[in-house]
């Protein structure tokens, strides 16, 4: 089985081609600007390094959030277009779960993405990527209050937290976990922002008052 994984949800970008549970090519780097114009050339470079084409893929894994709204849409736009036009299966993946593939001695992992104003996108996972607390947008102090030494705190962002570790992504682990997920119709694939737009928040607030 030939897989492509696309993650452009944060500045820590991953593009990888996997075949028979082996990573053939992996691009993993920080892209701080002009992400939109860089991703497709990177994907092309990746396929130039393997002996098959993008049309030979069996499945596309796309990280569809949470993260930067624009970043999420770049990956989802590319993945949806690929899956729809090549009639390939598409499977959405959480960025937080991908971060939780990091190897650790602790029982639980807490991947976090900076969402500004003391908020983070975060979830809690065990070592087998089972979700203990589902991904959500949460105040960081509220989250940390519940946690003890059994929890490995993970983030690519410079959060002001003690014992924060940088995630080390294990792409095969996430793919093995999800390769038999029921694929989505590409039309139905949506970003997972975990946050309404400001305009929608305002209307919601007005309605609640």
């Amino acid at each position: 089985m030939k897989y492509l994984l696309i993650d452009t949800t944060t500045s820590h970008v991953v593009i990888s081609i996997v075949e028979h549970n082996e990573i053939l090519v992996k691009y993993e780097d920080d892209i701080m600007s002009d992400m939109s114009s860089k991703i497709l050339p990177i994907i092309k470079d990746c396929f130039d390094k393997v002996n098959f084409t993008i049309k030979d893929l069996d499945k596309i894994f796309v990280v569809n959030g949470p993260g930067s709204f624009t970043g999420i849409r770049i990956g989802v736009a590319i993945a949806k277009t690929l899956a729809w036009s090549l009639k390939k299966d598409i499977i959405p993946i959480s960025k937080l779960e991908l971060m939780a593939t990091t190897n650790t001695d602790k029982n639980y992992l807490v991947p976090m993405i900076d969402a500004r104003r003391d908020n983070v996108f975060a979830g809690i996972y065990d070592n087998n990527l089972n979700s203990i607390k589902s991904d959500s947008l949460i105040n960081i102090n509220e989250l940390l209050d519940e946690l003890d030494d059994n929890y490995e705190l993970l983030s690519f962002d410079l959060l002001d937290i003690k014992n924060l570790k940088k995630p080390k992504l294990d792409i095969l682990k996430i793919i093995l976990k999800h390769q038999n997920d029921k694929p989505l119709n590409p039309h139905a694939l949506k970003p997972n922002y975990l946050k309404l737009t400001q305009a929608e928040e305002n209307i919601k607030k007005e309605n609640n008052d």
Partner: protein, 337 residues
């Protein structure tokens, strides 16, 4: 179904609040167009919310492409090249269309043709009647007010433009002042036909240049309403709409007709969303008939944002060998000149 000599351009447009895909043959024959308008959604917020617009584009675009291909009874293999609006527009919205277009270009190994949104509006006219050169193009929309001299296909010389607000923006702001819901521009046009030109509004930037300025007349309307309110006078919204619209029509026609004379041009095209305005259409028709000028205005459905115009412009850009790579950048402020 396709003749080898025929060129089929797939156009993709997502610069604001319409997700649109179209196939145009040889730059003039619209084969099929699919549009998903978000206008009803944004009406709830009193205007286009960029983040919501971007979110709707990403959810819907594969459906819109599929609908367009199905309507045309074609597949991507029948397409010669892919044209996409790269700017100007809302950056989050443009990024969706650009990434879809570059991905399609990569998968199917088709040339990618970047199209400037305003050039698209201009070429919408080719879907009505073949453009004859030289011509003067008046571009009037929510983001633009430009007078452009075209010597030939894809040769643009700006001879004047707005110094502040675009004319469509001014319409929407005036609409708000007289309590019309979003999108108010078309409602001002409608309301003006039942009003009289009774309010003394200034003729904006009535000088010898081809430039426009609409912030003054917008302020004049706001002050007028404010002062009448203060005095406890009844405000006749239809009369305000009529007085305002007459002044706008007068300055647009005055400068455009002068440009036609000075550049000795017999062809005028009007492009952009505001070209749907009935007052503007009618006055230009009357003046052009009198002066023996050939006037082309897109059908109402081509006045607003649509991908048919992008595909139409894309044909001429394709012939001029204008190409983009997989690293095509969306540009919110893309310059046309």
């Amino acid at each position: 179904m396709s003749n080898l000599k025929d060129i089929y351009i797939l156009g993709i447009e997502s610069s604001c609040d319409e997700t649109s895909v179209s196939i145009v043959k040889n730059g003039v024959d619209e084969i099929a167009t699919a549009v998903l308008s978000q206008m009803d959604t944004h009406a709830n917020f009193g205007g286009v919310v960029p983040e919501i617009a971007s979110r709707m584009h990403i959810e819907n675009f594969t459906i819109v492409i599929e609908e367009c291909l199905n309507k045309a009874n074609m597949t991507m293999d029948d397409i010669t090249a892919i044209a996409v609006t790269y700017g100007p527009g809302l950056i989050g919205c443009l990024l969706v269309g650009v990434n879809v277009a570059t991905t399609l270009s990569y998968i199917y190994n088709k040339p990618l043709v970047p199209v400037h949104h305003i050039i698209g509006h201009i070429y919408a006219n080719n879907l009505v009647s073949k453009m004859e050169f030289p011509l003067i193009a008046l571009v009037v929309s929510g983001g633009h007010t430009d007078l452009i001299y075209m010597e030939d296909n894809y040769k643009f010389k700006k001879i004047g433009g707005t110094l502040d607000d675009a004319v469509g923006e001014c319409y929407d702001k005036v609409a708000r002042v007289i309590d019309l819901p979003y999108p108010g521009g078309p409602l001002v046009d409608k309301l003006s036909s039942s009003g009289k030109d009774t309010y003394p509004l200034p003729l904006p930037l009535d000088d010898d240049t081809y430039n426009f300025s609409f912030s003054g007349i917008k302020s004049a309307v706001m002050n007028l309403v404010h002062n009448e309110n203060q005095r406890g006078n009844e405000i006749r919204n239809a009369d305000i709409a009529c007085s305002f619209q007459n002044r706008i029509i007068e300055i647009l026609t005055k400068k455009t007709m002068k440009a036609l004379k000075e550049y000795n041009v017999k062809n005028l095209i009007i492009a952009g969303g505001v070209s749907a305005n009935s007052g503007i259409r009618n006055k230009f028709k009357e003046l052009c008939d009198k002066e023996g000028i050939k006037l082309t205005i897109p059908n109402i459905k081509y006045c607003t944002d649509n991908a048919a115009m992008v595909a139409a412009a894309g044909y001429f850009a394709y012939n001029k060998k204008i190409r983009a790579g997989l690293d095509l950048k969306a540009d919110a402020n893309a310059n046309m000149f």
